[in-house]
Symmetry: C2
Subunit: 598 residues, 2 copies
């Protein structure tokens, strides 16, 4: 049976020592996030994830969801009880608006806990995960009445939410969507059409399901400028705000998927369902992007979280599995064989994942903190800067953390040899589950295009300049520190490659957009290397300082951080040059073949 232990110590280290979260205790919600409270909350989250969610993960994959003839859906054994525990613990509202019952704690803390939920049970975590998106969309774009109607119940966890974008003929290109909305005399709309791939679309966990649905109002302009967003509750609320009449939205089928079997991925049929416009008419995409950005960061988090749980299991297996002897001679001569931990190639696999996980977690929380600042800082300037950087990092987090997360889950599976291919060990489930993260909420190819085509040039490159300035100012500050050079020099090389790539993009991408498209995936991954490398440089600086001051019982901890930081710089950062070479090769060869020649 797979194992999982929430990395509370690591989370606290990142929040407190790496990111100095106490710097921000003047921000609303942060003043309460004292070290004691952080530790207590993370400890409670660890309990929930380890004792309730993780134990039902493997069986839930095997059982999957069941759709009944009437369109109702049953989740696997234990899911309802787990959801009740989640709801009763008040987890849904942790960072939500206090006006509607939320606790208003930092989004960074919410993100840290999200990692645990996903590691323990990714399919489960998607139910509340999508609800968070619905909460954000209604909070930002809803009328006061809509907020009053929906937010308290969503924040309490009594109701859950969904995002309805995709139709069978359009995913990325939402301009083609066909779902219709007809205005009624009472100001509501009748929604008709079919949506596919709707995660958490129908289930037995909550008392109501609040669908947020993109549709086209009769007579609206063609393309993306004619799309509006609607609230379509599964049960229409009565005058007291309680779920009442069943609305005309039914789960027509469950998709048979590669993984996340315990999450109900639905075909939803809308047949004149009552919907309520949210936000402005024909500005639905803008409103949807509020959910989407939130969702993209959460999907990036899935990459990290699945990499972490896969890693923990690979480590546990590598410690116990004895097979062969160390190349340098028997390490444990009394045993029949050594643990496979002695083999360099096993170390390579584990170090690759470890070096990613620890910097990935730092990057995730660093970005989440920017999210907090962007909403809560008192100065407009500070808010803008944080928002810029979070916007820039969103596609990088989504694309890079899920690509690496998948790669790492596969690597961790490889540590198990043949057992990794067998269901009961849990590793192949991690691989199947995390695979979707590279695909949904905009494929990673779309993330890369969002980065080079929108986020990078936006406001004359202001966000990118701010990011590079932060990184460069860090390396400059420590230029005279000899000890830190093994960490900052490779980072500098990475930054130089990123700067050269950015320059190349400016010079070529404008003239020939295909050059930008051809470069996009490598550019995103190059950016990711630099961002993760920056996290390692910060952590190395902290550890060098701690060790020089005498780290006491934290000595081993900091020495280990330095080793892992060095590993990242020696073994992972060199990929920067290959990315740059590919970027600079342009698009000519890539686009040269006729479509028929494939």
């Amino acid at each position: 049976m797979p194992v999982y232990s929430s990395p509370v110590e690591e989370t606290l280290y990142v929040l407190q020592e790496v990111l100095n979260i106490d710097r921000y205790n003047n921000l609303p919600g942060f003043e309460e996030a004292t070290p004691d409270l952080l530790e207590a909350i993370l400890g409670e989250a660890a309990k929930l994830t380890e004792e309730v969610l993780q134990p039902i993960n493997l069986a839930g994959d095997q059982e999957g969801c069941t759709r009944h003839e009437d369109g109702s859906v049953t989740t696997p054994k234990g899911m309802k009880e787990a959801y009740d525990a989640y709801r009763d613990g008040g987890w849904m509202g942790l960072a939500a608006n206090p006006e509607y019952g939320g606790q208003g704690l930092p989004y960074a803390l919410h993100t840290a806990i999200g990692e645990y939920l996903i590691s323990a049970n990714m399919a489960f975590a998607m139910y509340p995960g999508l609800t968070q998106g619905a909460i954000a969309a209604i909070d930002v774009h809803g009328t006061d009445e809509q907020k009053q109607q929906y937010l308290p119940k969503l924040i309490e966890g009594a109701w859950t939410g969904t995002m309805n974008l995709t139709e069978s003929h359009c995913g990325t290109d939402l301009g083609m969507l066909r779902t219709k909305a007809e205005l009624q005399k009472d100001g509501t709309y009748k929604i008709s059409g079919q949506k596919i791939f709707i995660s958490a679309g129908e289930h037995d966990l909550s008392e109501n399901i609040i669908h947020l649905v993109l549709a086209r109002i009769d007579g609206a302009p063609e393309g993306t400028k004619g799309i509006s967003l609607f609230i379509v509750p599964k049960f229409i609320l009565d005058d007291d705000g309680n779920p009442d009449q069943r609305n005309g939205v039914v789960c027509g089928a469950l998709e048979e998927k590669m993984g996340i079997h315990a999450n109900a991925t639905c075909v939803l049929n809308y047949d004149g369902a009552t919907g309520y416009l949210i936000g402005e008419e024909n500005r639905g995409l803008k409103a949807m992007f509020t959910m989407m950005n939130e969702a993209r960061l959460s999907v990036g988090l899935q990459g990290l979280a699945m990499s972490e749980v896969a890693y923990q299991n690979a480590v546990a297996y590598a410690r116990e599995r004895i097979q062969g002897r160390a190349l340098t001679g028997p390490a444990e001569p009394d045993k029949k064989a050594d643990s496979i931990m002695v083999h360099p190639d096993v170390r390579r696999m584990l170090m690759n994942i470890k070096a990613f996980n620890e910097s990935g977690r730092a990057l995730m929380l660093w970005t989440a903190l920017k999210g907090d600042i962007s909403h809560r800082a008192s100065s407009e300037e500070e808010r803008q800067l944080a928002d810029d950087i979070m916007g820039l990092l969103t596609p990088v987090i989504k694309g890079v953390l899920t690509d690496k997360g998948f790669e790492n889950a596969v690597t961790a599976q490889q540590v198990f040899g043949g057992h990794g291919y067998i269901h009961e060990w849990g590793m192949e489930q991690f691989v199947r589950d995390v695979r979707i993260a590279q695909i949904y909420e905009g494929t990673n190819g779309i993330q890369a295009l969002d980065l080079v085509g929108r986020k990078l040039p936006r406001d004359g490159g202001r966000a990118m300049r701010a990011f590079l300035e932060e990184v460069n100012s860090f390396t400059k500050t420590h230029m005279d520190n000899e000890e830190i050079q093994p960490y900052t020099q490779p980072l500098r090389n990475g930054v130089k490659a990123l700067e050269a790539a950015s320059m190349w993009l400016m010079q070529n991408g404008m003239k020939n957009p295909n050059d930008a498209g051809a470069a996009s995936m490598d550019y995103m991954h190059l950016f990711g290397l630099v961002a993760l490398g920056y996290m390692w440089a910060i952590m190395a600086e902290k550890s060098l300082a701690a060790l020089s001051e005498g780290a006491g019982d934290k000595q081993a901890f900091h020495e280990e951080k330095l080793i892992t930081a060095r590993y990242f710089m020696e073994r992972i950062m060199p990929e920067a040059q290959a990315h740059l070479a590919r970027i600079e090769s342009g698009s000519e060869t890539m686009m040269a073949l006729a479509a028929e020649a494939f």
Copy 2:
């Protein structure tokens, strides 16, 4: 529904134009392999794979194999009929020893057909695939009587074979195996123990199953030097050589696997089963390696074949899926959107796979041809040279072609967006199926170690020198040809990196074996880059020559080859430098953490 079309034209191109197979028509079995015969046989194989095997692939994955209470196993619907068609077509004996009913045709041809079988239905192809290993082992190590008893029926396809190595506590480290063999008065052995992960271990396709089983004879030395190989038929033969009494080997369970569901992966329980020693006592590993080398090449072929079928489906989808507009402006303004073929990142994905498939096929057949020469050439020197190179390439083919094959299947799945995650489209099955190829027959980590630890230093590096000489002599020969420089220069850079890495290994790997272990995976992939790059350079040279002579209706074909060759050199070859940098970073950081620190 997934599609598949056997790439007969590509195979013929590689065999005839790239490898000039007619050079070898003095070799036994080759004289018959006329162009007409090759084309006819490949055409027949295409029919079998497209009309019989591929149509049952998706359903077979869903249905899986069923074990009944008596230990018997039923394969999914259509498998038995498909196997009968395979058997009746005489495919099992295509390259087998004519003395026992084989047709003695080139192993290279057999390999080409193997690709089609796997692409169409990997789980199916494993049944005959394992039989080929059993045939090879008995042919090389069996007594005349054993050959007479088993080979004709195996070669005919009436019986199938298996390899029994793994036990639950030992996979890689076979020295620990516990299955026992007790000598009986009649010279037979009683075999007792449990084997796991036995592919095609029990099924309803053939009249008998010939298990080749590693076991330890009572009183044999410990470790790998006390292991012997036994023939253990499911049904013991009567005096006329017909299957008679049921032997004491039973399928105790089927493994629940990530993929290849239509292949029965068995736990086999041996309870005093009658076994016959094959080869010398205590030299079982040596005999098993005959099967293993054959099997490793076949597993590499799985990587290529699954990459090919995944590619074909991704291309078909990319052509038909319309979504968004070309970055350079609408390509098909009359339609609602352009085909996703116009997007550079979709091109990047398809070109990555195409550039691998075409060179991978060439490398596979180039190596298979070395196998033919190693067995059939008249001069000992020629046989030795071919055997050296095939031995050297075996771990590279297995490790690199399966790592890339998996990566490509994942990439092809990505082209489908959300549909790639849904079972009915078939892409997620390709990913799950091919994943095993990186694991079994020695994990790819073991392949890498085999390469740097055994194949490279063997006979003072003779094989590696011969390989480099062949590549270097090619680039030297064409040094004055300006036109070919865009293909040979990047190859030269790759070779230089490989030479530097080899030098580094010689200087460091001997002093510190961990340095060799730490370098092994990157070294194997660097080697793979050079080997694939060499194939592209050869193909580019052929196409340049053809075009300069006026290629007629082959003009587009050769122009496309040059584009794909250039893509490989511009976009894939640059990885060589990252591999070298990682290799040269050594093992110190990788091995620095205490085992408890993970």
